[in-house]
């Protein structure tokens, strides 16, 4: 099945459409800043949901942050969550709507700071949810303050001399932490650092959706994304900087329990497969 709208009838013999607007992506001007990664992630999701035929039964949960407006772009049902509570809101949907495909979209301030309890416990319960966790290392919407994911030394509007671990602690590798939990069927990290990385990321997103469909548990994909405005860089510089971000947050698959991938160290009481 093609993720794009059927092309207009072509009169050119061998021509075929290789790119187009996914059917689940609204045709409207973006509000995201130039070089922001959210638009790319939205598009990938629109493609994956359509390829898997999930659009008509998807209920999405929008976060607080720049991406709250995902409901303006992705043409599926959406509810807005209080800041950080998206996994709890999604749990409520999940439990009363077993047939729904539940999509959770969160930024790093939302998921890894104010919503730490909610994502950890949704994961501990093994809720059948697909969580897309967009990590750009700052609070974008409020003006580029430090997030729990901000790199050491990184300057933000609330770490004006750079993040100093003595005062502001260390970056939080929350996806690796979640991968430890038996309820997490799938945990992976991808990146927007170029077309090849984006192609790989799409496969990760697809797998995170599949584990929900298969009833295996929670699937989470962290996306290393850009915030040129929050970083004080041009869009091109911001993409280049993702190589540095990947040194703190390596890309890869940390858990895919149905396929025998799981962290070596299981938590006490856990039953890692």
């Amino acid at each position: 099945m093609s993720p794009v709208a059927p092309p207009p009838p072509s009169r050119i013999g061998e021509a075929r459409v290789v790119a187009g607007r996914p059917r689940l992506l609204a045709e409207r001007p973006t509000h995201y800043c130039p070089g922001c990664g959210h638009g790319v992630v939205h598009r990938l999701l629109a493609e994956v949901l359509d390829e898997l035929g999930l659009g008509p039964r998807t209920i999405g949960v929008a976060p607080v942050g720049c991406a709250v407006f995902i409901y303006d772009y992705l043409l599926v049902d959406f509810v807005e969550a209080p800041h950080g509570r998206a996994p709890a809101v999604a749990t409520g949907i999940r439990r009363v709507r077993p047939e729904a495909f539940v999509l959770v979209y969160q930024g790093d301030g939302d998921l890894a700071a104010i919503g730490t309890a909610e994502i950890v416990h949704a994961a501990a319960r093994g809720e059948r949810l697909t969580v897309v966790f967009v990590n750009n290392g700052v609070y974008g919407m409020t003006g580029g303050q430090m997030a729990p994911t901000t790199l050491l030394g990184q300057r933000t509007t609330s770490t004006p001399t750079g993040r100093d671990p003595k005062a502001a602690g260390y970056p939080l590798p929350i996806t690796e932490m979640l991968a430890l939990l038996p309820g997490v069927a799938y945990a992976a990290r991808g990146s927007l650092a170029g077309p090849a990385a984006i192609g790989k990321l799409k496969a990760l997103l697809r797998r995170a959706c599949e584990v929900q469909i298969e009833g295996l548990g929670l699937g989470i994909v962290e996306v290393l994304s850009t915030c040129p405005v929050g970083w004080g860089l041009t869009p091109v510089e911001a993409v280049e900087r993702l190589a540095e971000v990947e040194r703190t947050y390596p890309v890869g698959v940390f858990a895919d329990r149905a396929r025998g991938i799981a962290p070596v160290v299981a938590p006490a009481g856990g039953k890692g497969r």
């Binding site: 008509p56 709250v68 049902d77 959406f78 969550a81 209080p82 709890a88 809101v89 409520g92 416990h121």
Partner: protein
């Protein structure tokens, strides 16, 4: 203990000729749980806290038995957010907690109101502020009636005074929540939650309304969005205007109160919930001593029964507000009567509950002070301003003003009888 297993009998509970419903002894928290189950609640989300834990425990056992949803959340923040998600799909949802947990729930309460989602929240109030105590209290009154969370909105607040009434009001709360698409608070307290009373096993299941606004997946219709965010000021103002219109409709249709011996009363006690139970006994005892006193009991705390109370004000000589708080309901009573009658206050806090005797003594003092008759507490000289009750929070200033007040409004003076 025998428990209800089935939902409501089809016939109205007290219809003529109807068999009397079974009557059993039940604990408040468990009775509330059973009432919600009979009302058709689809999902319950909670977090343990005293004195409402039995409600959660009963749901933990009963909801899975019935194939319905129970989740013990990681916090009250999460519990009510789960409720928000479930309600967004059109499910009938209950959450419960007690005061400190209710404060955490204020966050999503505001989102529920802004997003117009029906959820019923039960607060089994305990003493505060802070961790306070686990004893009964009514000190979350202002929090509840002023909307609970941030932003410009009110939600209906229903206050039962008995376990049986709590069961009825839980069903009513679902009905109101779904009719207006609003969260509704059932405001109980530690006594109502923990006490056991004989209750009639009469249950009600509100009819389901169409949920053509709810999320189910955009299969054969355009996508739906449920949100509280309206970034354009014009849009948010229009949304707030819409919420205000809805509140006006609720204020017009959902006012509830009960009166007891008010017909010829010169004094009235205003109290709700457990305090009203105490006050009712005090009123009956004072009546037996010849004092013309009645009880006005608000049941809907928002919308507040201001008009019925104001209607009484001109034929009353004084109002005594009795609360398990340092004085919260009294503010709405004073607003309602707008200075037309003196409003005195007696409250206990921290889990302390006024005794009927304590309230009766104040009534006798009030009656005696004005009328020059009736029983006066022995420690009050006949011609002196009364001392503040040493264990009550009756405001000293109020007593002093009362004692020295111009007599045209005083108890015992003929109405309009100027000096």
């Amino acid at each position: 203990m025998t428990t209800a297993r089935s939902s409501a009998a089809a016939s109205p509970p007290h219809a003529a000729g109807a068999a009397r419903p079974e009557r059993i002894l039940m604990k408040g928290n468990e009775a509330i749980a059973e009432a919600a189950i009979a009302a058709g609640v689809d999902a319950y989300f909670g977090y343990p806290i005293t004195p409402q834990a039995e409600l959660l425990e009963r749901m933990a056992r009963r909801m899975p038995e019935l194939g319905r949803v129970f989740v013990q959340a990681e916090s009250e923040l999460a519990a009510i957010s789960m409720a928000l998600g479930a309600a967004a799909t059109g499910a009938r949802v209950l959450v419960s907690s007690s005061s400190p947990g209710i404060s955490l729930m204020a966050e999503a309460m505001s989102y529920l109101a802004g997003s117009e989602l029906p959820v019923v929240l039960v607060n089994v109030m305990r003493g505060g502020p802070g961790l306070g105590s686990i004893g009964p209290s009514q000190s979350d009154y202002l929090q509840a009636v002023k909307g609970h969370g941030h932003g410009d909105y009110r939600v209906p607040v229903l206050a039962p005074a008995s376990i049986g009434e709590a069961m009825d009001l839980v069903a009513d709360a679902f009905e109101i929540a779904e009719r207006y698409r609003t969260p509704v608070i059932v405001l109980a307290d530690g006594i109502l939650g923990q006490a056991m009373e004989p209750v009639d096993l009469r249950f009600r299941t509100p009819e389901r309304r169409p949920t053509d606004w709810a999320l189910s997946g955009a299969a054969d219709r355009p996508p739906r969005v449920i949100r509280s965010l309206h970034l354009r000021p014009e849009d948010l103002e229009a949304h707030n205007r819409h919420l205000r219109e809805k509140e006006a409709a609720m204020a017009a249709a959902e006012v509830r109160w009960a009166g007891h011996r008010l017909a010829d009363a010169e004094l009235a006690v205003v109290a709700y919930g457990t305090a009203a139970r105490v006050a009712r006994t005090a009123v009956d005892r004072a009546r037996a001593a010849g004092i013309a006193v009645g009880l006005f009991r608000p049941i809907s705390l928002w919308p507040f029964p201001s008009e019925p109370l104001a209607g009484l004000a001109d034929r009353l000589r004084a109002i005594l507000v009795v609360e398990l708080s340092a004085g919260q309901l009294v503010e709405d009573v004073r607003l309602a009567v707008a200075g037309r009658v003196p409003v005195l206050f007696h409250g206990r806090t921290g889990g302390m509950v006024p005794s009927p005797g304590e309230v009766e003594q104040i009534l006798q003092t009030l009656a005696g002070m004005g009328a020059g008759q009736g029983v006066r507490p022995h420690h009050l000289p006949a011609d002196a301003a009364p001392e503040p009750d040493p264990v009550s929070l009756v405001e000293e200033g109020a007593w002093a003003r009362w004692a020295g007040a111009p007599r045209e409004r005083g108890v015992g003076r003929g109405r309009g009888g100027g000096a």
